[in-house]
């Protein structure tokens, strides 16, 4: 019966073929279905603890009186102080706003050959049982009126940090910039300063390994580090102890003083920088602005620097603080590693808030000038970090101090400004809006009710202009997330 067995074999083969095809279909269908189906995900979140550091004593350093170089021609690089600055400071408990008297000591200004008034160190110990550090504020003001230096210089008393950026100053002809480094800690600070200018990073051999002894202030002429730089941007890093850094800039126009300013630190690199207030004292139109060689130093402008290696696209939004003028918005490409001046125009007289949005981290500060019968002066308006919760504002004496507030949060905010003596003020700041509040000089205010605010205080008057930004206590005291495995 060979036929039957042959048939059986053929049938078997056919059956096997069909089964094989079915198998292939099953495999392909299974794998295909797997690629199409979206599977649910099971994801366990890592466990972390939010740690609020125990509050520690708060320290603030006031930079001290305005300094000048070469008063004594035998010591061309030596600095000596001019006059005295008047400081206002105060501290309150964060919980019940009870007044605390700061301990005031002095920082020895070793580089000041004329140390009549040394810089002040404010120390506020933690109150027993306090969960939050006390609110400390201090500021100083000084009107200089010598042959070489004239104008108003105000500065906030700042916390020492290990990493800070200063955008401002110039070592061009007629301009003097002095870097003030104060070490309030008990540890020797080794400071490295990196200077970038309009043509890139400046090779400054003397800028590394600057030793600042505990409790001392060093004064370094920026011209010695980076001569003939029109637009310097400084990055101050300290190892060991921390330093409070500020940059004093003064200028001479011909034979008359062109103004003086003590420039505080600006906010650390970030993609969103806010300058809470910029005061424009003279209207500027599109035509008055020229760039390059013919750049008018008095034009309101913003100096932007990209610390990274990639060019940044920066969107600059200028908004009138009181709603009296239309805001402007410009977009610029900023090359990395090069300090870039961007003029702000057209602008009418008034105060503005400036917001910079970038796709790469940047640092920035703005500068405006005043030129009137009373004299010439200029001011730097630094970007600042947001203030969370209540904060204190110490208003040094000076002409018409004004608090600029920007509420970048999502909610409208009602703020209460409580002066040390007097009736509290209530200010409403809508979400995304800014506000200005006139303050009384010589007073310490406590501002409560805010959640995320940028703040800056400026002074303006006839021929005088100056400002300082308000910064929260350094990140060192903020909460930190800790993982243990």
């Amino acid at each position: 019966m060979p036929d039957r067995s042959q048939l059986a074999r053929i049938g078997g083969r056919a059956g096997r073929g069909v089964l094989g095809l079915v198998g292939i279909a099953v495999v392909v269908a299974t794998l295909g279905a797997a690629t199409l189906v979206t599977l649910p995900t099971l994801e366990r979140e890592p466990q972390a603890s939010e740690i609020e550091p125990l509050p520690s004593e708060q320290q603030r350093v006031c930079p001290g009186p305005v300094l000048t170089l070469a008063e004594d021609s035998t010591q061309a690089q030596a600095a000596s102080s001019v006059g005295a600055a008047s400081a206002v400071y105060g501290a309150v408990s964060a919980s019940d706003f009870a007044q605390i008297r700061p301990q005031v000591t002095e920082i020895s200004a070793v580089d000041d050959s004329n140390s009549r008034q040394p810089p002040l160190l404010l120390t506020v110990p933690v109150q027993d049982g306090a969960a939050l550090p006390p609110l400390v504020a201090g500021s100083q003001s000084q009107v200089a009126a010598t042959d070489t230096i004239g104008g108003l210089a105000v500065a906030a008393c700042a916390e020492a940090v290990s990493d800070s950026w200063i955008v401002g100053g110039s070592t061009d002809i007629g301009r003097t910039s002095l870097l003030l480094l104060s070490n309030p800690t008990t540890v020797l600070a080794t400071v490295n300063v990196t200077v970038a200018g309009e043509s890139g990073l400046v090779d400054a051999p003397g800028a590394t390994g600057i030793l600042v002894q505990p409790g001392e202030q060093r004064v370094i002429s920026l011209a010695g580090l980076a001569p003939n730089v029109k637009s310097p941007v400084l990055h101050v890093e300290s190892r060991g102890g921390q330093v409070a850094a500020s940059l004093e800039q003064s200028s001479i126009r011909g034979i008359e003083p062109g103004g003086v300013e003590i420039i505080g630190t600006t906010a650390t690199p970030g993609t969103n920088q806010i300058i809470a207030g910029v005061r424009v004292m003279a209207a500027v139109s599109e035509e008055t602005v020229t760039t390059g060689e013919g750049f008018n130093a008095d034009t309101p402008s913003i100096r932007v620097f990209v610390p990274g290696a990639v060019a940044a696209t920066v969107q600059i939004g200028v908004t009138s603080a009181d709603g009296t003028a239309e805001g402007t918005s410009t977009q610029v490409e900023v090359e990395p590693g090069i300090a870039t001046e961007i003029p702000l125009a057209p602008l009418i007289v008034g105060s503005y808030s400036v917001q910079l949005r970038s796709d790469e981290p940047i640092v920035a500060a703005a500068r405006t000038a005043v030129d009137s019968a009373g004299g010439k002066d200029f001011a730097w308006f630094s970007a600042s970090a947001p203030l969370a919760g209540s904060f204190a504002v110490a208003v040094a004496a000076g002409p018409s101090p004004t608090l600029h507030l920007v509420n970048s949060g999502a909610a409208d905010t009602s703020l209460t400004l409580t002066p040390a003596a007097g009736t509290p003020l209530v200010v409403e700041v809508e979400a995304g809006a800014s506000a200005t509040v006139p303050l009384t000089g010589g007073t310490v205010y406590v501002v409560s009710g805010g959640s995320e605010l940028w703040a800056l205080v400026d002074y303006s008057g006839d021929g005088v202009l100056s400002s300082f930004a308000l910064n929260p206590p350094g990140p060192l005291a903020s909460a930190i997330r800790v993982y243990t495995h």
Partner: protein, 1011 residues
Amino acid sequence: MQPRVTAILVARNGAKHLERTLKALSLQTRKPDIVITVDCGSSDATAAMLAAFGPTQFIAADADLNFGQAIAAAVRVTTPPTHDRELLWLLAQDSAPEPNALEALVDALEIAPSVAVAGPKVMEWIAGEYIHNFGESMTPTGATVTLVESELDQGQHDGLSDVLAVSAGGMLVRHTVWEQLGGFDPALPVVDDSLDFCVRVRLAGYRVSVVPAARVASAGDGVAGPNQSSRGRLRRRRVRAERSAQLHRRLVYAPAGALIFHWLSLLPLAFVRSIGQLLRKEPGAIVGEFSAAFGAAFNGMRVGNARRSFAKTRTLGWDAISTLRVPSAEVRRRHSLKREASLFGLHGERPEIRFFSGGGAWTMLAAAVTGIIMMVPLLGADTLTGGGLLPLSPSLPELWASVGYGWRDLGLGFVGAADPFAAVLVVLGGVAFWSPSFALVLVYALAFPLAAVGAWMAATRLTDRGSLRALAAALWVLAPTFLIALADGRPAAILVHLLLPWLFFAWFAAARTWSASASAALLFAAVVACAPSLAPALLVVWGLSVFVAGRRVMRFIGIPLPALALALPLIADQGLRGSWLNLVADPGLPVPSAHAPTLQLLLGLPGTDGWAGVLDRFGVVGLDPQLFVPILLAPLAVLALLALLLPGARLASGAWLVALLGFGTALAANQLVLAAIGAEPVRVWTGSGLSLYWLGLVGALVIGLRSLHRFASTPGVVAALTLAVVVLPLVASLHLGTAAVREGTGQTQPAFVAAEAEIDPRVGTLQLVPQADGGLLATVERGVGATLNQQSTLDSTDQTLSAREKALAELAGNLASRSGLETSAELAEFGIRFIVLQPAGESVDAAETALRTETALDGNAALAPVGDTEFGRLWQFGETDATASTPLPARAGGVFGLVTLLIALAVVGSAVLLSLPIGAGREAVRQANRDAIRRAARADAKQKTKRARRSKVISDLDADLDVPLGTDLEADLAIDRETGVGTGLQSDDGFADDAAVDDALAQAVEDDNAR
């Protein structure tokens, strides 16, 4: 007076053999005077046949009567003996005497009045020319010895007369002696009943003799004497009965003074003999071993009764029978003969695989060269680092301490279960015992050749062709998941890829040999320990194997046991937490990986294929890896799918099932994020599942190609070459610098800390790692730092924070801040002497956290900065003294740790003993001899009638038959077939369809035996 013979025939369900027995009885030349038949509750035609035979008396007894009791029942109905020429002839249903048997036996008793018992020459039932059993004796230590068994009868033993004992079936005994001694000992129901009786006969002053002229055939039904079947259950029962009988006799024969020592030695001996049973591949005998020991130990009445009746009739000393015992030298000679026979099976295995002649060595060499090319940047390394690689503990005792339930010296330390992976690392570290960490370098150095050999050996299960085996090795070595695991530094995944082919190799043979079954169990444990995510897929395969195993189910059922025993404490711990899913988290140092698109998993790629990066780097445009990589892998997939249409499709579908299970595992792992390291969640590694997927694919491909015969070479080479192109960037990853693994310094801590750890091995270092989310990972490391074997999934999957961890977080948070906290006391309390701040990654937030932390630590008056090291910036906390160091807690595991460790040791140890390929035991050899004779006889019978129906496979058997029977060689072939010590390609594993014929034949043989 004439001798009077009373024949007593005992039957139990013996209709099959009874006919021949009854006929033989009726054909006796000297007929028995009285015939008493005893039916022990048969359910078949036995009773009717016995009754129809026309016995003098027919007794219907209970089924549970043993042979001795049945005889006793028959004796009771006889008249008491009046003279010593009244004889009892003890027969069973399968004792078919030759016509002159009784005559010869009666003559023997007539001639010599001192002989009380005469035994016939017991022949095989079917192979009538073979001696089944001829005379019994004891060794000097009391073990039973059958003087002659399984030998072709050529009259060579016909000179034998006086022996110590004879077997029960066919024995002729004087009725008076029977009465005097009280018959068989009721405590010896099956085995040694006649031996014990004959010993008592001897010691009562009589003689026992064999009568060569009297021949009785026996089928070994188990009525008189034990059942001789080789079926597992019956065989295990026989072995247990033999051991019980031996122990009982030992207790009965022992002098009263030695009794207590014998009694005390029962259980320890059972333990020792159990190990022997494992080595002899008789795990089923262990239960019997213990039940025999317990039975002998706690049945005092039986021993007491037997001792009393023994003492009552004994008139001579033991010296009287010493010359009848088998001397020790003879025992040793017999043992060595059997050992030789059993070892032959082992050596017979080698020619099958042909590693050297089949090209295996060349394949290994080629893989080694490829491996060296890939590993050039690592050449000369003493340690490796990067990815999931960490050093192992520097000494073996420390390695061992990381196994089992106990103190996990990871971070702050905790009491909990170790991952089973730690046990794998202990074994691995033991390879490089002088410096365990070097074992990881060895794994890297030998990864390629080891993977190639594994795949080559696995392929031997599928094909005889050397070229296809080499192709399988190439495809396995070039598996993208393997290369990515090597580049990423994932030791567990590498081990999985190295072990999987061996698991398949052993699993495939598990049905045939205990050795392979135990090897598969150990490899299963190792694979699951390395990649717990593979456990579900492997358990599915196991379930299917068990389902289709049929008779061999016991060889499969134990395969997951070692894995279970190792994971037991971990399962308990995770169970207590209520998070069973965490059991599949990858062991070892957690290495984060991105979510892989399903399409990429389909290509067997757990990470990126590397081409995108390479093309980017060299600026090549216009080539899309997403397009050409699938095209290049298509030949492999097509060939694997084609296997489903070719002969061997059943096996190929099994391979595809494995592949789909592996793919499913990878798919599921892709969706599971169970562990975390700091802020970074850690996904279950998909590569292990893809290794299984790849195993199935390569298997299907080899099965397909082997059916293409001579057309196989081109498609095979194309598949291998295109795969080589795909994995080129992965092979080159160490050269391109895209690999995480690199040469290490042997340290995970700054040298300063390592030096301090020399003095205080428990010195604590606080490791601070800035996280990408701005957080800070704070861990404490003791001594020289973290080790791979101390890593724990219990820690990496922990979703809760202990009080100590919260305290540590509080301390670290304040250390990283300008804080008013007095940190000195807490640092001392945690035993921290050093703080290392590791460099931040690329994240801006991490950089800020690093800066903040550094600033805070710099400003901390209690800390002295030491400087920057290759592991980050180091601070020293100077105020602690050495007494503040935290000692290692002793015996943290407690009773639970000890018990689980013992369980694991027992299970894994048993598997190791069972897996050692040292040949089958003596009993197996003996059994094989018997079975060979029977099969030969049956085949002989079949040959005469069914020549036309014989298949090709049976002709193999015929070839065996040509070998002179009764020789060692014949016995070895029998072992090969029955115990499977020798291996062939045939297998009755669930996937092996070509083995079905062989299996069916084996089944038929078994069935015949049972019949």
